[in-house]
Amino acid sequence: MTTTTPRDTNPMDATPTDTSNVADRDKARRWQQGGSEPLLKVRDLRVTFQRQGQEPFEAVQGVSFDVHPGQTVGLVGESGCGKSVTSLAIMGLLPARGNKVTGTVDYEGTNLLDLSDQQMRDKRGKDIAMVFQDPLSSLNPVIPIGLQVTEVLERHRGMSRKAATPVARDLLDRVGIPDPDRRLKDYPHQLSGGMRQRALIAIALACQPRLLIADEPTTALDVTIQAQILALLKELVEDTGTALVMITHDLGVVAGLCDEVNVLYGGRIVERGERHDLFAQPRHPYTHGLLASIPRLDAPRGQRLNPIPGSVSDNLPWTSACAFAPRCSQPIEVCTQKMPELVEQHQRALRCFNPVEANR
């Protein structure tokens, strides 16, 4: 994507926070050649909710993926497929009661699931940060945003209030908040949705995270504001080498941003691939069907959409079948008899007994 004029104050202008993760940037080049060690290795992550008096419900059913330094990995899928629960489990942010998390979340050799609450809080401040869909509920309403940034700097980077203030100012400037000196004193409710999301990104960046998890960060925003935030995230990733896990239901967002894309259905990954390859040749009938059902702004008009029949409420349990079988355009007998495994082949992972023909 090339950006023509005009644009915001360039968030890439050198600021005191620019020094982060230069090593990661070099590593980032390496994963592109297939060399680097993953920063994050998620293995067989399962989250089961135990509601009082109800059957246990497994929202995430064995999700595995890697994130390399500097890489942007997408998790896409429809509402309820387990995207947010996956990210909350990685961050250790699920409620303390009523759920069970198993598997491993290996961050540079440490299984985050084994850490105490205190240790996890440190990790969240220092290494991993998260940006949510609704910035208003993740910002503290009674503290000016400038102070919310300086607090992170004081706590996690050991700065004094005095030293932290200009850094906070530069961070606000860098995420494209106009007139940052004045805005330091603003409360969240005084900012528009887009500016709040920028403030939240500034707070996330304050600790110079090596991994940023963004859960639908633009879903609540208007499309012109979404474009600003996506451009900002992209520039930050390119500049600092921060790895990004981008969670969204919007395949368009993924197409422009992510190096690798994981498609989720019913709590499991059904397909994974490099973005160009995946969009050019979706092999899983669900991915294929999704792409065929979306109206595209650039499509010739008068074409009828090709919907996926039914809805997620028709799903079969993964334990004994392919959950997608009732909605699939090309099921075969075995699809309703046992679960397809996720099989890796030629840079693509696929969970399907009868994938869409590759046309090359």
Binding site: M1, T2, T3, T4, T5, P6, R7, D8, E78, S79, G176, I177, P178, D179, R183, H189, Q190, L191, S192, G194, M195, D222, V223, T224, I225, Q226, A227, Q228, L230, A231, H249, D250, L251, G252, V253, A255, G256, H276, F279, A280, G289, L290, L291, S293, I294, P295, R296, L297, D298, A299, R301, R304, L305, N306, P307, I308, P309, S311, V312, S313
Partner: protein, 374 residues
């Protein structure tokens, strides 16, 4: 154009201003939200007119004004040759039957305690189309068939359905009284991507089958372009550009339309990598303090020293050769922008104090806050 029998809806100079009230019992009006601020719009029989624009630009309010659910502060709306505002009693009820609405959130617009049968029968009874549910039964089954639901659905309740199925029920309910016009406000935006297409196709099929006219209000430009014959792009209470769907996509003229189009992500990495994006800076201004002159001038990359800040541009047919019929745009400099004579420049971002919008939200609290205040 008003005497054209082809025109089903004719809105002229429509304004809807909401007072912002403050003070102990909200007796003081401290300003207005200019939700809709001077819109002319015609919808032809049998067509789908799409209204797009960002949150708060007044799309829903304009839709409601056309239904006369929100009486315009100024201007008139003629439906089928009759001024709706002048109607009363029986005549108004009859007209209401001709215009039905489909909402964004099917769950909150359907009474959870009513079965599908009673939901569908309700409107028919109110308009004297059937006396009892038994008599209406064949029609109800027909309606369900039309929207792709089984007869067994009649005895179920809204919560027993998926989002897409609930939207089908909402559409069946709108159809039950044989309307001429359906105003659909964000009919698919609450639905999963895979289900959106089902409802879009259904709306298209029903239009053909029943000769319906649609006004579709949505923020998703790709959906609107797909479904509409003509599109109006709204910005801060006014129409910035209006054109046939194909023309709007092929030759967007207004700077805002261009920016909007270039911001829509396309699910194709090849397109995404190549795309030239016009990134707008700053926030959308508050509709309670719309900028003077051209409302887009605070964010417009083509803004000029003259006219833009002071004169409000009218929606007009530009003098550009080859521009499609009925393509109208509200920009002083369209011709010069299109010819390349005027080039885009950087824009210093302006920020909108959300407390301005907060004032609006307070006024929306209405009765609850009044009782609190007392």
């Amino acid at each position: 154009m008003t005497d054209n029998t082809d025109v089903l809806v004719d809105a002229q100079g429509v304004k809807v201003h909401f007072p912002i009230r403050r003070g102990v019992i909200f007796d003081k009006t401290i300003g207005h939200v200019y939700a809709v601020d001077g819109v002319d719009l015609q919808i032809r029989r049998g067509e789908t007119y799409g209204l797009v624009g960002e949150s708060g630009c007044g799309k829903s309010t304009l839709g409601r004004a056309i239904l006369n659910l929100e009486p315009p502060t100024e201007g008139s709306v003629t439906f089928d040759g009759v001024d709706i505002a002048a109607l009363k009693g029986e005549a108004l009820r009859k007209k209401r039957q001709d215009i039905q609405m489909v909402f964004q959130d099917p769950l909150s617009s359907l009474d959870p305690r009513q079965s599908v049968e009673s939901l569908l029968f309700e409107g028919m009874k109110a308009h004297g189309l059937a006396k009892n549910a038994k008599e209406a039964r064949p029609r109800l089954v027909e309606l369900l068939n039309a929207v792709g639901l089984p007869e067994a659905a009649l005895l179920k309740y809204p919560h027993e359905f998926s989002g897409g199925q609930r939207q089908r029920i909402g559409i069946a309910r709108a159809l039950s009284v044989n309307p001429k016009l359906i105003v659909a406000d964000e009919p698919v935006s609450a639905l999963d991507v895979s289900v959106q297409a089902q409802v879009v196709n259904l709306l298209e099929d029903l239009q053909e089958e029943f000769g319906l006219t649609y006004l579709v209000v949505a923020h998703d430009l790709a959906v609107v372009r797909h479904i509409s014959d003509r599109i109006g792009v709204m910005y801060l209470g006014a129409i910035a550009e209006e054109a046939a769907a194909d023309d709007l996509y092929a030759t967007p003229l207004h700077p805002y339309t261009r920016a909007l189009m270039s911001a829509v992500p396309v699910p194709d990495p090849v397109v995404e990598d190549r795309r030239e994006q016009i990134l707008l800076t700053g926030d959308l201004p508050s509709p309670s303090r719309p900028p003077a002159g051209c409302r887009f001038h605070t964010r417009c990359p083509w803004r000029q020293e003259t006219k833009c800040d002071t004169e409000r541009p009218v929606l007009r047919i530009p003098e550009i050769p080859g521009v499609g019929e009925g393509h109208r745009v509200a920009c002083h400099w369209t011709e010069q922008i299109q010819s390349g004579e005027i080039q885009p420049h950087e824009v210093a971002p302006t920020i909108t104090d959300a407390s301005d919008l907060g004032a609006v939200d307070e006024s929306l609290m209405g009765p609850a806050s009044i009782s609190e205040a007392l």
